[in-house]
Amino acid sequence: MAQTPSKLVSLAEAAQSVASGASLTAGGFAHSHQPLAFTRELVRQGRSQLTLMSVAECWVAEFLAAAGMLEKVYFSNFMFEGYGRCQRFSKAVEAGTIAVEDHSHFGMVSRLMAAGLGLPFMPILAVSGFEPAAHKAKRLDSPFGNGVVTAVSPLKPDVAVIHAARADRLGNVQLFGTTSVIEEQARTAAQVIVTVEEIVETDVIRRQPELTLLPALMVDMVVHVPYGAHPTGVYGYYDHDAPHLADYYAASRSETDTAAWLDRWVHGLPDHFAYLDTLTISRLLRLRVDPALGYLHEVRHD
């Protein structure tokens, strides 16, 4: 059998494939499985004029906005559950430095899905373009005479960045817990980069194929990044780091404090492993979930 080449690359190498001016989409929902080590690496390397085609990857948007790297954002909802609205992102929109286009969740996922299925549009029932704009949504009579639908136009990002639980070197990706918009994003993007907590042998994947979210044919690069979603969590591995999120949220109220926070946690550290060292192993171990519950019992709302 021919040797299939490994898709394993370093985090720095993976981030280099995102050029300034590129469009991105990222996995994750609320404080779960957002590809934040990748986001920090991208900020460390520095990019400009990025477009985000997003649904709920609020932390990715917030950090890219805080670093001044975003030009345009398509999205449906950015909210830090338990904290409030995304400060740096919102301020940039209010200042006119980030242009936005709003959708409902279903409208936005449907636009990604249209491109992912190679369709010129996707029909949906909700009137998704609530501020009707001809380029994103139009009412359409069914050619079969059985109703009226809203056609939403396709959105095709250059790169999808996903953080998942485990993958093999070939790019077969598994994730436990909720899967946000990952399947649609991976279908749609021209290039798919996956960072994972663990690299496993293909045999491990084949033993439980029902857990596979993305088969290797959907994936271009795999990066081994333990705690790669921190300070958000990964189901079955670690919970979100509530005090760390709260620290950022407090800092994000001012531009100066945000810059200091980015200096400390991104620019001041050479790579992700230096980031983990700075967090300390005891802190990381305290985030490990209770295997019976799937979450960290002691963490209460802060």
Partner: protein, 257 residues
């Protein structure tokens, strides 16, 4: 009894909107508490759905949000956002709960911007699933504290459709769901006149007056033909709220009466 807080009245009123056997689309905050309360009391067969992709959980701890792993516990399916929202389009969802920054007399909501869209004074979080829920759930309930800045004659941006411009407008727009049925506030429970589709005051919490409610709403609003007084919640419900569902008072404050 002056011992019951406004939040507690809101949570109990919201939970009453859920019928046994309903499939309910639930968001973070009071709706989550209301859903747990309904499930623990009159609606044990309620099927809870979250836009993060979690179906029918049996949580033992209160979640901090719909993406929280506390909600995965005991669920019958975990999927993605498309799966959860597509249930709305399939007409599988009976009821949804929504919060809002602005609401008009027809129950239309704004959670997008305050000020001009391209250069807003305040950029809000955006629709999320709200537009989908309001468009496609069989009915929906709004949870909003009374404030003249929130209850306004005209929303600054139409994020989420209520009855739009009045009778027949939802049908003309092709929206499959029936629209808003209730607005649960911190002083009264509001509803909609079946003929005019305009908001009206249906029930007052003990101690609140119609004049006081009208004072906190920036558009003219009348009382329903029979204006009722909300009874104090049973001790059983209060114990569930205070001791079991939200013991730390995360979503349901104890103080404001």
């Amino acid at each position: 009894m002056t011992d019951v807080s406004r939040d507690e009245y809101m949570a109990v009123a919201a939970s009453r909107e859920i019928r046994d056997g309903d499939t309910a689309f639930i968001g973070t905050g009071l709706p989550m508490v209301a859903a747990y309360l309904a499930k623990a009391t009159h609606a044990p067969r309620v099927n809870l759905v979250f836009e993060s992709g979690i179906i029918d959980p049996q949580p033992v701890d209160l979640a901090t949000g719909v993406g929280d792993y506390r909600l995965v516990h005991g669920s019958t399916k975990v999927a993605g956002t498309f799966y959860a929202l597509s249930l709305l389009q399939q007409a599988k969802v009976d009821i949804g709960f929504l919060g809002t920054a602005e609401i008009d007399p027809y129950g239309n909501l704004n959670s997008t911007v305050i000020g001009p869209y391209d250069r807003p004074r305040v950029r809000l979080p955006g629709s999320g699933g709200a537009n989908d829920i309001a468009s496609m759930a069989k009915r929906f309930v709004v949870i909003a504290r009374l404030d003249r800045k929130r209850f306004v004659e005209k929303v600054q941006y139409l994020t989420t459709p209520g009855f739009l411009t009045g009778p027949g407008a939802r049908e003309a727009a092709g929206l499959p769901g029936a629209g808003p049925v209730r607005v649960i506030s911190d002083r009264a429970i509001l509803g909609f006149d079946p003929a005019s589709r305009r908001m009206r005051v249906e029930r007052l919490y003990p101690g609140a007056t119609l004049a006081e409610v009208q004072e906190h709403i920036a558009f003219p609003i009348d009382a329903a033909p029979t204006l009722e007084i909300e009874p104090e919640p049973d001790l059983h419900l209060l114990r569930l709220l205070r001791d079991v569902i939200d013991p730390d008072g995360v979503y349901v404050g104890r103080d404001e009466r």
